[in-house]
Amino acid sequence: MKRIMIMVFVCCVLVCSGLFSGSALALEAGGVDIHGFVSQGFIFSEDYEYLTNNSKKGSFEYNEIGINFSKDLSDRLRLGIQLFSRDLGDVGNNKITIDWAYGDYRVKDWLGIRAGRIKLPLGFYNETRDIDMLRTNVVMPQSVYGDLLRDTVIAANGVGIYGNINLYTMGSLDYQLVAGSMNIDNENGFEKYFTARSKGVFIINGRSDSDITYAGGLRWNTPLEGMTLGASAISNTIDSPIKLGGVLEAKNSADNFIYTVGAEYIWEDLTIAAEYQQYKIDYTVTSAMGTSEGTGTSEGYYISTAYRFTDFFSLGAYYSIFYPDDKDKDGNTFVFASDAWEKDLALSLRFDINDFTTLKVEGHHVDGTAKVNAIDNPIRSDDKFLYGVAKVTFSF
């Protein structure tokens, strides 16, 4: 499989250097379209290890690589697969995964059927979060698109329906429904997220499993040109073997419900987006000591804007707010009060070198340590800190 990823890199180099014809921005072999991307980033932070476990020294362990193969088998039937690999410090470690792989049969414009590994609609950008060249910012607003949960919420193995419904003078409605099983891999961020969410009380002690995950998304393309309103949700139950306080073996059964609502407005070269998300967990812990139940809700929202000044240069910014416990936004029940919030102000510069190459530089001012992972940062030294990222992406 590693050969495949090396091939992606070689293809990117060849396409970007102009050795292949770039008119269609794709390679084609036997009627199969091939597209790929390589994103390599550098992250540097003060005070805390942020996003990666080694950002204070500066880290190149921050990349995404993908390649997809697809073919239209008929006017209505399409088949494709994308292989994906990412590194985020000690998460991911460039293990190759199947990002999506499904057959897609379009019965009518308002009804299509998919089966296989399908990306999940969650917010406007969950399905495209790995594709760096599609946006101005590098790091997605962590209040809604937390990177540690990326691999868990990105896709499910199952079936789905989708379509576009004409509402005539009221615009149109895009819908998508998916039912399937999630792949939960502790090494891909779930374990670090889980431990942080339980404030270090629950330690994962084996493989987690989910029952059937249900996901749905609606996008209303309103009569106001460029204005889209969206709503989406994911629901499932995840069972995890855990150790309570690092000692007592137990089983945690968590009912998860995440919903996101938002608005996106695109006018000429300006894009403005705002989204709000709530993530509710109802959990039951069963051990030799008995059974206990609890509930917790996190809340996050952001507003972002981006403007494309020229074909070469775009500027973007967002302000993102996250509360891990919506009932304690001041940190009264947290060991470190600043763990109760994160307010992240980001400014991004994007340079499109050519059709295949994008360079970005981004700075963040963060108030609060809610997303500063306790495993990598046992001590809190400051409520506020800065971090920066740079990323170059090649795609074809």
Binding site: N68, S70, T128
Partner: protein, 146 residues
């Protein structure tokens, strides 16, 4: 960071949003929407054109498969996107990259010149394309002109 600095940054964000309000408004040239002569459809509204070029509609109202073709760049391409699809060429390209990298579609078939578009549309039933108003469309049929 001190609050005044934060306030300044937020004001900067708002100003950034206002830039297009003072930007110049580009004027689009006239574009003809053309199709193969065998197509029984005689006229199209803007919404149908937009949905076909965004891959949301795969069929003509009469049920036949609709295949669209685009110019790879140029003023006619920009005018068409601005008038019918309501997107800039960068946004249109990004839209199709999203489809490609989520498995939902393939990049549109593109041509470097309007002459190639006319030739392809003339020879391929069910296709829809666009050219500038002054272009000779041969045996193709005009569905809309703006």
């Amino acid at each position: 960071m001190k609050q005044p600095k934060l306030r300044l940054l937020l004001i900067g964000l708002v100003l950034l949003m206002a830039i297009p309000l003072i930007g110049s408004l580009a004027t689009a040239g006239t574009v003809k929407i053309i199709t193969n002569a065998s197509n029984s459809v005689e006229t199209v509204d803007d919404n149908l054109v937009k949905n076909i070029f965004l891959g949301k509609k795969k069929n003509w109202p009469n049920g036949d498969h609709a295949q669209f073709v685009v110019l790879s760049s140029g003023e006619t391409h920009k005018s068409f996107l601005q008038t019918y699809v309501k997107k800039s060429s960068a946004q249109f390209k990004n839209y199709w990259k999203k489809q490609v990298f989520t498995g939902k579609g393939k990049n549109p078939k593109s041509f470097a010149s309007e002459g190639e578009i006319v030739t392809y549309v003339t020879n391929t039933p069910g296709t829809i394309g666009y050219v500038s108003a002054g272009t000779d469309i041969g045996d193709a049929k005009v569905l809309s002109e703006k």
